[in-house]
């Protein structure tokens, strides 16, 4: 069984986001970047399945600018076998990314495609579902547990009401939740070894996919700020304020 894992390079989750003054976006210069956190869970799960003997190969793919390759390199350092970097210097919408991934799937013929459930930059939560629509494959979104069976997976999904379990036949798409597993850190020897693992480079425009943007970002602005609150000295004062000032209890 072969698993393809899609990873995205985003602003690190610990960075305090700053909006550009000209309203064109957020500041990315000299800002720490890393792999989208649930994509780390996706890689970890694929590597675990391979380690358990149920998968033969894990391929990491990213779509993005030159530096996006770092995320593939990181995936290789934690156990992916080889990488694919689809190069694109322009911002791509999830629809365009899923069309590119469809081409990669047609070429690689994986049994499973894993990725994070949502990217923490645009917070779109679309790519996995779109890819499964384009391929007409089953989708298991927001996965917090995966059990590999013969030609199928049993997946526990985190939904608003609690948990849902579904069974999907392969080939299939799984989008991973943060609680799926605990991503490992790359050891120094493995980081060194990863440098020798192959990364195939593909130019996005060579794939013959229409990636024309459909959405225009008119402006990006700071959200309204909350006005500063006060510290209260005691529980009694807190309850009085809630009762008589805020009038919420």
């Amino acid at each position: 069984m072969k698993i393809l894992v899609a990873v995205k390079r985003v602003i690190d989750y610990n960075v305090q986001i700053r909006v550009k003054e000209d309203g064109t976006g957020v500041v990315t210069d000299n800002v720490k970047m890393s792999t989208n956190p649930p994509d780390d869970n996706a890689i970890e799960e694929a590597v675990k399945i391979k380690e358990s003997g149920k998968a033969s190969e894990v391929v990491a793919v990213t779509v993005g600018e030159e530096k996006a390759q770092e995320t593939v390199r990181k995936a290789l350092a934690v156990g992916a076998d080889r990488g694919i970097h689809v190069k694109s210097d322009v911002m791509l919408e999830p629809l365009a990314v899923s069309k590119i991934l469809q081409k990669i799937v047609e070429k690689e013929k994986p049994d499973l495609v894993f990725m994070g459930k949502q990217a923490i930059d645009d917070d779109c939560n679309q790519t996995g579902q779109m890819l499964s629509a384009l391929l007409n494959w089953p989708q298991a979104t927001f996965a917090s547990k995966i059990e590999v069976k013969e030609n199928k997976l049993e997946v526990t999904r985190e939904i608003d009401e609690g948990l849902e379990t579904i069974e999907i036949n392969t080939p299939a798409i799984v989008t991973c939740d943060l609680r799926l597993n605990e991503p490992r850190y790359a050891s120094l020897p493995n980081i060194m070894k990863a440098k020798k693992k192959p990364i195939e480079e593909i130019i996005a425009s060579d794939l013959g996919v229409d990636t024309t943007p459909r959405l225009e970002q008119i402006k990006v602005e700071e959200p309204p700020k909350r006005k500063a609150g006060i510290k209260v000295a005691s529980v009694a004062e807190l309850v009085q304020k809630l009762k008589n000032e805020a009038k919420v209890i």
């Binding site: 305090q16 986001i17 909006v19 957020v26 649930p38 999830p94 629809l95 899923s98 459930k117 923490i120 930059d121 917070d123 939560n125 679309q126 579902q129 779109m130 890819l131 499964s132 629509a133 089953p138 979104t141 927001f142 917090s144 999904r157 985190e158 939904i159 608003d160 009401e161 609690g162 948990l163 849902e164 379990t165 579904i166 069974e167 999907i168 036949n169 939740d177 943060l178 459909r214 959405l215 225009e216 970002q217 008119i218 402006k219 990006v220 602005e221 959200p223 909350r226 006060i230 510290k231 209260v232 005691s234 529980v235 807190l238 309850v239 809630l242 009762k243 805020a246 919420v248 209890i249």
Partner: protein
């Protein structure tokens, strides 16, 4: 052209956020039709027809629609799509799972999780966990939009009488099989719509200690929330998680107890009307969004809080 709203329900009743999504849909165009897909879901379809904002209900019923599987739902909506300019649904786990599957089939770039309708093609949406707001204009002829339910008021739920039209279903998608759903039943208000939310974080130190939160929530008639750290640690189940990858809540009162306030948590609660933070670390980021901050050990403060609440003659519910 009219707007198509995808109703969310449990085969008996409408889920509450359908009312919020209807409001959003009506801000795009007054001609709102709603599609309901389910199994033995006639009662829910009837309730949908009573929403005064809805001009027509499209009803598809079949056994394979019982469990809301996106692979089964999407083809029904895609077949209806040609008559509509917009397809609208809530950006909760139901809509997040379903809408991109529709959008990709229609070759449309979805606009996710909008918090404001600026015009029929332009929307405001939070990005980077709500640390920036983006104004997005869609140039697709058909627009797929998911709405953040807490950013739109629920519409009236009675008084209307829209016609209900049965529509053709589609074949079952055989590669996805529903096994089970484990819903946590509770008499408390739903987290997404509660007037008061009491949330616990890593500072609670154990699942047992969450009973301190439960007591306060019971007293106030509140829903119980949690930070991701508390859910990851196993103190409480995932359906309580508030934040960027959990639920977004906008209650009148949000009480954060033992929650440090990572930006991912703030993304899910900072629009609340009044925020209270109780934390022993005076430097915790949660205090930067709190209207009332109490720097104290929660294990001392919570019993005192109960005592003070008990002294009050009346509590709003």
């Amino acid at each position: 052209m009219a707007v198509l709203l995808i109703a969310e329900h449990n085969n008996k009743e409408l889920r509450p956020f359908t009312l919020n999504a209807a409001t959003a849909a009506s801000q795009i165009d007054t001609e709102v039709h709603a599609v309901i897909i389910g199994h033995n879901s006639g009662d829910a379809a009837k309730k949908l027809s009573e929403l005064p904002l809805i001009k027509k209900v499209l009803n598809a019923e079949a056994p394979h629609y019982e469990n809301f599987t996106a692979e089964n739902f999407a083809p029904v909506i895609i077949k209806l799509a040609e008559n509509y300019s917009h397809i609208i649904c809530s950006a909760n786990t139901f809509g997040k799972n379903l809408m991109p599957r529709i959008a990709a089939h229609l070759d449309t770039s979805q606009v996710s999780d909008i918090i404001k309708v600026i015009s029929a093609d332009t929307f405001l949406r939070p990005i980077y966990a709500g640390n920036a707001f983006a104004t997005i204009k869609s140039n697709d002829t058909k627009k797929c939009v998911t709405i953040r339910p807490t950013s739109f008021d629920p519409c009236e739920s009675t008084g209307g009488s829209a016609p209900i039209e049965n529509v053709e279903g589609s074949e079952e998608f055989s590669n996805t099989k529903f096994i089970k759903r484990e819903e946590i039943k509770s008499d408390r208000p739903e987290l997404g719509t509660a007037r008061i939310v009491v949330s616990g974080g890593r500072g609670m130190q154990s699942g047992d200690n969450f009973k301190l939160i439960t007591e306060v929530a019971d007293k106030l008639g509140a829903a119980i929330g949690a930070s991701r750290a508390a859910v990851d640690a196993g103190y409480i189940s995932n359906d309580h998680q508030v934040g960027q990858t959990g639920k977004v809540v906008v209650p009148d009162l949000y009480i954060a107890i033992g929650i440090s306030g990572a930006i991912q948590h703030l993304a899910g609660m900072k629009e609340s009307k009044v925020i209270v933070a109780i934390n022993k670390d005076g430097e915790a980021p949660i205090f930067s969004v709190a209207d009332y901050g109490l720097e104290a050990d929660l294990f001392e403060a919570l019993p005192q809080f109960m005592e003070e609440l008990n002294k009050l003659n009346t509590i709003q519910k």
